[in-house]
Symmetry: C2
Subunit: 334 residues, 2 copies
């Protein structure tokens, strides 16, 4: 089942391959009639360009690499969906790898992407500095990079993020307004960019309502259900008084919430819980989780557009696209 090639087409039409190629690629140096003839024949013979050959010739692979930290939650899936949709529409394929929150795996994935000659890379970094050197190297060797969500602020590349500061501030304000005084912030490790942004939002919300910031209410933990659980455990064990938790991610929030419930602490009566992400997860747990919703699909679309822009126009930007978030108040707070 050999597929029909440009050569076949040119033989059939008694034209040169170059003419056929030009017709197909919409070159202006061609008579309209010949163009139409070629297009018709291509249609009829079922001609499909061989991307591999095209790639070799053009030195591009028409593929975009995506590296995400995890895929346990629908977070990445939603973004990838947006990327995929946009990319395929413009003739790019998408290759996904997950770092599993391990900077070394992330590094290997980057290297792999290079070996596979992806044209560009979209990445959410599991560590804000660890692989910066590679990213710079890639940039310099002509592989553009776009960062989203978990970015490295120092890297001079386009970025797609949400307003972490505002989102965090809004949700903490909501907690305060509903009468909470001792609000824990379940923080992510420092090597995650957004962690500090959301901390700022948390602190400013407190200040604004004349609540003082208490570092005992700051618990650093891993970005997992388990991390959230352990953090809650630690809080109880240390006998720290708190009536609300704002967690860096929904996952952590859910982990904490489930642990508290197991200890017969009522959510939201005793402790209100709020997260950040806004994936489907937040609506299937009990009670439903108050969270800051991010436009994940759109973020993916934007990231894809940014990378393709660089590819097509050879245009180096450092544009930062900031999406707004939406506060979703649900049963875990009141």
């Amino acid at each position: 089942m050999k597929s029909v090639t440009l050569k076949d087409l040119s033989k059939y039409l008694l034209l040169s391959t170059s003419t056929v190629s030009r017709a197909l690629s919409g070159d202006k140096n061609i008579r309209k009639e010949t163009r139409d003839v070629v297009l018709d024949a291509a249609q009829k013979l079922g001609y499909k360009p061989n991307l591999i050959a095209k790639n070799l010739k053009l030195g591009r692979s028409f593929s975009i690499g995506v590296i995400v930290p995890e895929m346990v939650t629908p977070f990445a899936a939603k973004v990838i969906e947006g990327i995929q949709q946009t990319a395929v529409l413009k003739g790019y394929r998408v290759m996904v790898a997950q770092s599993s929150e391990d900077p070394e795996i992330e590094r290997k994935s980057l290297l792999m992407m290079k070996e596979f000659h992806v044209d560009g890379i979209i990445m959410s970094m599991c560590h804000k500095t660890h692989n910066i050197d590679l990213c710079v190297e890639f940039q310099e060797s002509g592989i553009p990079i776009v960062l989203y969500d978990r970015i490295a602020p120092s890297l001079k590349v386009p970025k797609v993020i949400v307003n972490d500061y505002e989102g965090a501030k809004a949700i903490v304000e909501h907690l305060i307004k509903s009468g909470r005084k001792n609000i824990v912030y379940l923080q992510a490790p420092d090597y995650i960019y957004n962690a500090t942004e959301r901390l700022r939002g948390y602190q400013d919300a407190l200040y604004q309502f004349d609540l003082k910031f208490d570092s005992k209410l700051l618990v650093k933990t891993k970005l997992t259900f388990d991390g959230g659980m352990k953090a809650a455990k630690k809080l109880l064990k240390r006998n720290i008084e708190f009536d609300a938790i704002f967690a860096f991610t929904d996952t952590m929030a859910i982990g904490a919430m489930n642990y508290l419930r197991e200890q017969d602490i009522s959510v939201p009566k005793d402790v209100a819980i709020a997260g950040f992400s806004g994936t489907e997860l937040s609506t299937i747990v009990y009670p439903k989780l108050t969270t800051v919703e991010q436009p994940l699909h759109d973020m993916g679309v934007e990231a894809a557009n940014l990378i393709i822009q660089q590819l097509e126009k050879n245009l180096k930007t450092e544009k930062i696209v900031v999406f707004d978030t939406k506060l979703k108040i649900r049963d875990s707070t009141c």
Copy 2:
């Protein structure tokens, strides 16, 4: 930042490109010394083979397409992880697309995969017949296909599945043994292969315990949280008496469970709930969900191996690999 090519290498070594190529590819027709020299030089100059060129020459793309029905749950992610890991190890890249449970999107994805010249396809079909024609066509045109989980029984391709019948039977037995008499089966639409297998397990478990099968307890619904919810709603509205639900997927089980709770029906006291899949979702909901766990990662590994086997050995099998499931009893049943 041009990368070093075979030609560069051959010029540098004053050897022909073919010799260098042979050395690198581990051809036996080469003197050990020259081989070593070449390998050394390749290392030193940082030679990386250009896969695109290789692809064009060999008529292969060294990429594997994966088509999954959804990525909202970690189900697909786990399988993909297994596929990815195995594939990359053997020099293949993985390209993922999701059909979103829409056979037409699945079809488009298949076509896209072909356009991108993937060497083989791993797929979990959202509809057991809709795209069979394309699959057959692909097979015949030399693109091998491996099916997993949601298979099409009639397709003569390798398949990776779990023992749906046994898994379903075991979990329903567990429900019966814990005193449940009126067990609902939330069934998936008929166009999903496993739906009928699990139904068989359900029925046989009933028969075995002399419970009669009541078709009123069979509710067909969509494979989503929402589907589960609506099914539960329907059951209540119809005033059907039931003390347990066995759902086709965890997602559906969770949807139903959440709805019942909202109606102040206690799980597991009034109604026990069990699912099928065994992803992390089942452990983060409240109460934790009893489910049939599938070895998703291993299924991915196996699927990747099966496709690569066909690719490398040009070996057409129709091997069906059946994995065992594990019954995970949690708080949603007792």
